[in-house]
């Protein structure tokens, strides 16, 4: 019954990551897409509860010249994005 959270806004110009930190539950996934992938690049300090999986959409990283620091963020292609929406119970978009 986990949730996939989609973030498409820059972490530098918005506070969406801070809002998100209060909204996740253990087992949830966070996927960065569009301008959200800049978070993979070194987001401003924010803390998440344990047990959250972090992903960035590969094609949006590539177009922006962003290489995620692999320690924190895994990358995922469009097929992986689809699979995540199927394996989680619901998707919440943050914009």
């Amino acid at each position: 019954m986990s949730t996939l959270h989609l973030i498409n806004r820059s972490p530098f110009s918005t506070n969406v990551l801070h809002e998100l930190a209060d909204a996740v539950s253990e087992g949830d996934h966070i996927l960065l897409i569009e301008d959200g992938v800049y978070a993979a690049f070194g987001a401003p300090c924010w803390t998440l509860p344990e047990g959250i999986s972090l992903w960035a959409l590969q094609e949006d990283c590539a177009s922006r010249g962003v290489t995620p620091s692999s320690v924190t963020w895994g990358t995922m292609d469009m097929a992986g994005f689809v699979a995540l929406t199927a394996s989680t119970h619901r998707t919440v978009s943050w914009f």
């Binding site: 949730t3 209060d22 996740v24 539950s25 119970h89 619901r90 919440v92 943050w94 914009f95």
Partner: protein, 117 residues
């Protein structure tokens, strides 16, 4: 199928964009179809709950009148995320009647479908 529960999250402030009105309209239609969604105000969405709002210049409609009408359609209470309210230096006494506090993580986990506005 039709027993799915829907959560409408309003995260944008009123007046500056049409998101609040659009989220509320979706919730009202759901209610009219006999499936009243839960509605939660989070982030800047809690600003839609402020008392003493008015129409904007040029007669632009806000969302306050729509909010007052929601209870007629069994969309109640008006849930707000309490951390969002605190972060804006507000307390419940500054909000319109009918608001109740919630925790957004719990709300999301308890519904099948989430619509964001």
């Amino acid at each position: 199928m039709s027993s799915k529960s829907i959560l409408v999250i309003v995260r944008h402030p009123p007046h500056g964009s049409s998101w609040v009105r659009e989220g509320l309209e979706a919730a009202l239609v759901g209610a009219a179809l006999g499936q009243p969604p839960t509605i939660l105000f989070s982030g800047d969405g809690v600003l839609a709950l402020l008392a003493n709002q008015q129409r904007g210049a040029l007669g632009q409609k806000g969302s306050a009148a729509m909010l007052e009408g929601l209870s007629l359609y069994d969309v109640e209470p008006l849930w707000y995320d309490h951390l969002s309210l605190e972060a804006r230096g507000l307390d419940v006494s500054q909000l319109m009647p009918g608001c109740q506090q919630a925790c957004i993580a719990d709300m999301i986990a308890r519904h099948d479908v989430v619509m964001s506005f």
